[in-house]
Structure formats: structure tokens, C-alpha cells
Amino acid sequence: MSDGERVSDHSTDAFGSADTEDRSTQSTGQWGAWMRQASGFTYRTLRDVSRSWTVLAIAIGLPPVMYLLVTATREFDPTTKGLFAGGIAVLGAMIASLTVFGSQLAVDLETDRFVAYRSMGVYPSADFAGRVAAGVVVAALALCFGLGVSVIDGVPVDISGALPVAVSIAAFLGLSVVFMAVAVPVVVAANNEQYAQFALSLIAVFGFMLTGYNGMLMEAAILDGSTSGLLPNVLATRTMTAQLITTERVASAGSAGGSSRLAPLFVYSLGAAAFGVLLTRWQLYNRGVRR
């Protein structure tokens, strides 16, 4: 563990006069404090999630299992299979973003831990940013795992070009931030880890189904194409698919011009980040409520 957090053999009284005992060991600058708080939330969330098999199974395991079940029971042409693989890999990232961010937020809410955070002067933006960073890490794992499974199943994925990878990463980050901001009001309304996990997973799955597997197979969509095309999960999935999946005729399926979708996605993610910080401040760090 960092910071030398090993139990020493100090035998003096806890409040003894030794310099190392009385001195505050932390950086006192505002920016330093913000960074430490954000990293604290990131580190704690990752530790916590790594030991939560239910969150890991849902976030990382469920989409590839869905992919394998569908592709094993239905015949797809290579283009459709590639598009479906892209859609379901992004579904993994969506579920991971929502559940990883949301599950620990729900635990903190359930135990009134925000009362303690407020008394310590925790920065709401550091709280939000730290949890988002952890969610991004797990969502990236989920995305990579989903794509990895489809590669093993024969879907051609190309990550050799720096620009396509950079564009895909930007699309992925935008998508993750949007979905984590969405998680805040849902968790506050649920106020229970199990309910929150269930509701957040449903949001991801409904988003996936309503938009025709994240805009990949529009014939399966419930929403019309023009509406779906504006949604962040569709924008991000089409961007990533166009950049990474090299199946022929991807362009004809609506994934052409992937990088042009980054602009609206960027606007979405900026808005979501601001929305998330404000919600965190109003819903979780508002000291007038018992949370």
C-alpha cells in the first residue's frame, strides 16, 4: 500500500509530542486536497468493486454471455455479426459505467456516510470525479472484454491505427461520463444498493434494446432512427464501430463518418459532467437533507 501505511512499532501515546505524530501529513493546498480526495474515491471504488462479484458479473460478464447466446442460436452474416458485437461490447461499458458508479454511491447513501463527508469538507466535484474515474476503468475493461470475446468468435477488430483508437477512446469516455451522470438521480431515488443496481442495469438494457442494439441493427429498434441517432449510446457505438470493426459494409449500416459524431458526444459529456457535479452537490452534499 502507498504512503507507507504499515503499522509501526510506536509505543508512545497516540497524542504524544513526537513531531511525526502531531504533524498533519497531508498536502494543505486546495488543489492537492481535491486531487487526494478524488483519488481516494477512485481507489476505494476500484477496491470495493473488485470484491463485489455481483457487480463484476453484471458489468463485465453479462454482455459477452448475451453475445455468445445470441450468436450461438442464430445465423448472422459477417456484417451483422460485427455490428452486433460492437453494440453489445458498448452495452457492457454502459452497464459497467452505471453499476460501478451507482453501487457504491448507493452504499454510501444507505449508511448516511454523506453526513460524515460533508462534515469533512469533501469537494462534491472531487467525489464525482473520483467515482467517474473508477467507473471509466471498469467500463473500459468491460468494453475490451466484450470486444475480445467477439474477436475470438471471428469478428475483425483493428486497433492498429492510433487515430481510430484515439477517436474510439474519446467516444467511450463521452459515453461513460453521460451514463454515470444519469446514475446519480436514479441512485438517490432508489436509496438502496440492490434496487439501484437493478434499476441501473435495466436502464442500460432498455437503452440497448430501444435503440436497436445501440444503433447497430435499426430493424430491431423500437425508437425511430432519427431519434435513436441523437442518443449518446448510439453516437458512441457508431463512432467506435466505424473506427474499430473492419467488417465490410459497416458504413452502409449507419456507422460511416464515425469521428463526426464526436462533436455532439463531446457536448453531451460536458453537459453530463456539469450536470453530475451539480446533482452531486444538490442531491448528496445538500446538508438540509438526511442522506
Binding site: 510506536h10 508512545t12 498533519s24 481507489y43 476505494r44 462534515s119 469533512m120
Partner: protein, 286 residues
């Protein structure tokens, strides 16, 4: 005279229509331990949260060293019972989290985990801890923060008597260093360390003062064996008897002379303990 560490005036807190408390005035001076004593469910934890800056009071004001609570880091160390630690993390990881969160966190935790006897369990997950071990870990976190004011919500709950004494020693050490300490409790034994007791019931603060003054305001106690309870039932306030270790005790009715009660067979009249003070204010006075 130095500035009070904590000043609360006309403090009230409601959640919707539910009034938790109202009209509470409270001060804590540097180098003073104030024990907020009262039965469960009287709003002590909510009051502590308001004082620490975890909740905003519905009415009244709180100032810590002349500023609003939680206006900046390091003003207060707040122990909120059963709320600090995450079950799936180890004790060490929980400490590391609060070390990052609170810029006023010090290395004291290294000594405190030894003192509280949880050093060997630091790498176990908190889910495996007993209630007492969790409390010791929370105390370690709260007492590792360098602050002029410590607000501790039920710090001795779930601890054995030896550890209660150790916590009392730690709080006394803080007081000797000029720190202000406010601790809530429903355990009369915690009054042992008080410089001042504030007794809180559902009606609000019913009395406050130095321990000796609080005790002297309580009527004498009449005690007898459990089998002899009927002999004193009519001599005590509200005919209410409280069980002790193999005895029953009651607070002498003002119309009964102590000498008269003392003459009853197997009965003795004695000074009130803190448990009697607790029973008097919690169950009789209110």
C-alpha cells in the same frame, strides 16, 4: 477567556413535519469535555451531525471557532456511529481512504490501532469485524484527525469495559491538550469523564451543568433486594423502580424523609449514581 470552540444557539432540526429537536443552546470550550447524555431516539446523533456540519439545522446557528461548521478542512473531527467504514474494504484500506479524504489526517492511526488492539486485524475485511472492532476502527479514524473540536457520536457503544476506559483516557488526553470534545452517549458510565453534562430527552435539553451539580439536583436513592421491592414501591417517585445488580433502586419521593426510608428492613438510602441520574432525567423528570 478564550473563544468557545463551539457555540450553538436556538438550534432546531426538522425533517418535513417531524421535529427532531428545537431551541437548543450549547457551548463547548477548549480543554473541555461535554457529555451529551440521553436515551436512544432523542435526536443526539442528528444534533451531533448539525454541530459537525453534516446537516444544516432548520433553525438557529452553529459556529466553530467563530466560523460556520465545515467551512474549511480541519475544523472538526466527527465520528458518526456505524457510518464511516465500508464492509468490503479492509481496516487498512478504510483508513487509507479517510487519510486521502481529510487533509488534517495524521499518523496517529499507527499508535491508535495498537492501543485499541486492532493492528493484527487491519488486513481483514471490515465485514469480518465484530461491532466492537468496527467502533475501534472508526475511533481510530476520528481520533487521527488533528482538529480543535472532536464531535463523537456514541464512541463507547459496543465496547467492553476495558476499552471504554481506554477511550475515556484518549478523550482526557485530548482535553489536556486543550482540545474541545463533545461526545454523545446513552451510557451513564461515560459521564465519568465529563467536565459538563448536557442531558437530552425527547423534550430537548432538560438539564446541564457540572457532574457534581447534576448529581446534587437528583433526589436520594433508596435501594433494596428484588424480593423486597414492594416495601419501597410507595416511597419512590412515580412508584417506579429500576433494576440493578440483584437489587432494585428508586428515587426517593420528596414527601418521604430519607431517615424514614432508612428504617425499613433490608433498605438503604444512598447517593445517586450516574445511572440514577440517567433514570431520573430519562424516565421521571420528563
Amino acid at each position: 477567556m478564550s473563544q468557545p470552540a463551539l457555540v450553538a444557539e436556538n438550534l432546531g432540526k426538522s425533517f418535513g413535519e417531524e421535529v427532531v429537536f428545537s431551541g437548543i443552546d450549547l457551548t463547548v470550550d477548549p480543554g473541555e469535555i461535554v457529555v451529551l447524555l440521553g436515551p436512544n431516539g432523542t435526536g443526539k446523533s442528528v444534533l451531533a451531525s448539525c454541530l459537525a456540519g453534516g446537516l444544516v439545522p432548520s433553525e438557529g446557528t452553529v459556529e466553530i471557532s467563530g466560523e460556520p461548521p465545515a467551512a474549511k478542512h480541519g475544523m472538526t473531527s466527527f465520528l458518526l456511529q456505524d457510518a464511516l467504514c465500508l464492509d468490503r474494504l479492509t481496516g487498512r484500506e478504510n483508513i487509507a481512504f479517510y487519510r486521502r479524504l481529510n487533509p488534517s489526517f495524521t499518523d496517529r492511526w499507527r499508535t491508535l490501532v495498537e492501543t485499541f488492539g486492532i493492528a493484527d486485524a487491519l488486513d481483514d475485511r471490515v465485514a469480518q469485524y465484530s461491532g466492537g472492532m468496527r467502533r475501534k476502527l472508526e475511533l481510530t479514524i476520528a481520533l487521527s484527525v488533528e482538529a480543535p473540536l472532536y464531535i463523537l457520536d456514541e464512541p463507547t457503544a459496543a465496547l467492553d469495559l476495558t476499552m471504554v476506559s481506554e477511550v475515556h483516557h484518549q478523550l482526557s488526553t485530548l482535553r489536556d491538550q486543550g482540545k474541545a470534545v463533545l461526545t454523545t452517549t446513552h451510557l451513564p458510565m461515560d459521564a465519568d469523564i465529563a467536565d459538563r453534562i448536557v442531558f437530552m430527552t425527547e423534550s430537548g435539553v432538560v438539564t446541564t451543568g457540572a457532574p457534581a451539580d447534576i448529581k446534587s439536583a437528583v433526589p436520594p436513592v433508596i435501594e433494596t433486594t428484588i424480593g423486597n421491592a414492594e416495601a419501597i414501591a410507595e416511597k419512590v417517585i412515580d412508584e417506579r423502580l429500576f433494576r440493578g445488580e440483584g437489587v432494585v433502586r428508586g428515587l426517593l419521593d420528596s414527601e418521604v424523609e430519607p431517615a424514614e426510608a432508612d428504617e425499613i428492613s433490608e433498605v438503604r438510602v444512598t447517593d445517586p449514581s450516574y445511572a440514577d441520574v440517567f433514570n431520573y432525567y430519562a424516565h421521571l423528570k420528563s
